[in-house]
Symmetry: C2
Subunit: 209 residues, 2 copies
């Protein structure tokens, strides 16, 4: 198809498509003589993914590029792909925030021990993000007790079990990698929305005023 | 204390402090004759909270102002304060994203029914956020099955129960309101971090490759 058709099917204006190609988020189309460039269904598909990452996931162009690069290695192990997606996404999460404190990181390590999580977890990029949140609660005057952290950890494990189960159920490697990438971003947004609804439920249930 | 001391205690440069006062995030100090302006401990405290909201919570100045305004009404019911905090925070979450589709919203309503959550939940601001995530999964080619949404809902309920329990345990109304506000923002970041660690644990546990 030509770019006009790609614009129509994807809902993305032509200049934006060309920008994504320049930024290497989208593979270039195939030049077929003269000024004609042909695009395929894979471009429609990739454009939808890009929009999900940028608009709902709120990734920068640079981070979206790093995440999408993981799609070009569909045969790497699931654990590694998760890590690539997580690291790319973390670049945005930690921009212009202070480094996590040693105390915050120690509390995350202790949490991992209490949860009985694998030793692999200690170097995970999420440890720094969680430690920053723990630090920020403390410096805002509300240090978090262990039982609160443990409730969050149990919920995170439940969510991660659903994530990994869904991913492991997909046989096509490219498709599976894509779900890992898009799910890492969009799952956060889903959790944010549902947590707010659940807060409304619990306050109603406890009849708090 | 003078602004130099406030800068030292809060780690915030004087021009930034004056900017926050102009933007009404921070109450002005008290003029005490000549060019002297006096600040108190409440300014140190509020500055830490502002930094937590802006740097870790990634709120815009406008949204942070709306959230902080909730602190000036410490006697309002818990359910209402949660709602104020949620709405202020949602302004950033939904910027420049398409409206949720009727299908996405219908799936959230069905989820609320299946979870047995209160009828109060249907109008919650989180419903729109969750519906946008559900839409984005679908348009990226990965529509989410109900059992996946239900796993997320169960986890969200667990987190919300910890949130509300912590908040309800605080007797001082101003302090309680502050935890609701700061916890709504920072709890999201905590969940993001712990979800990534838990994904690493589950992939290791299942020995996926």
């Amino acid at each position: 198809m030509l770019i006009s058709e790609l614009t129509r099917l994807s809902g993305t204006p032509a200049p934006t498509i060309k920008y994504y190609v320049r930024e290497r988020l989208l593979p270039a189309g195939e030049r077929t003589g003269g000024n004609r460039t042909e695009y395929g269904d894979e471009h429609v598909h990739r454009l939808r993914l890009i929009r999900a990452l940028l608009e709902v996931g709120k990734l920068s162009i640079g981070s979206a590029g790093a995440v999408l690069a993981a799609l070009d290695r569909p045969d790497q192990p699931i654990a590694e792909t998760f890590e690539v997606a997580q690291r790319a996404l973390a670049r945005d999460a930690v921009t212009d925030v202070a480094e996590p404190s040693p105390e915050g990181l120690a509390r995350v390590d202790a949490l991992i021990e209490r949860a009985g999580w694998s030793e692999w977890c200690h170097g995970n990029v999420g440890a720094g993000i969680a430690a920053q949140a723990i630090d920020a609660f403390a410096s805002a005057g509300h240090p978090l007790p262990d039982h609160y952290l443990d409730a969050y950890a149990a919920a995170a494990e439940q969510v991660a079990r659903a994530d990994v189960g869904e991913v492991a159920g997909i046989r096509d490697p490219a498709d599976r990698t894509e779900l890992m990438v898009v799910g890492t971003v969009l799952g956060d947004t889903l959790s944010v929305g549902l947590r707010r609804i659940a807060q409304a439920h619990i306050t109603a249930e406890r009849n708090l005023s």
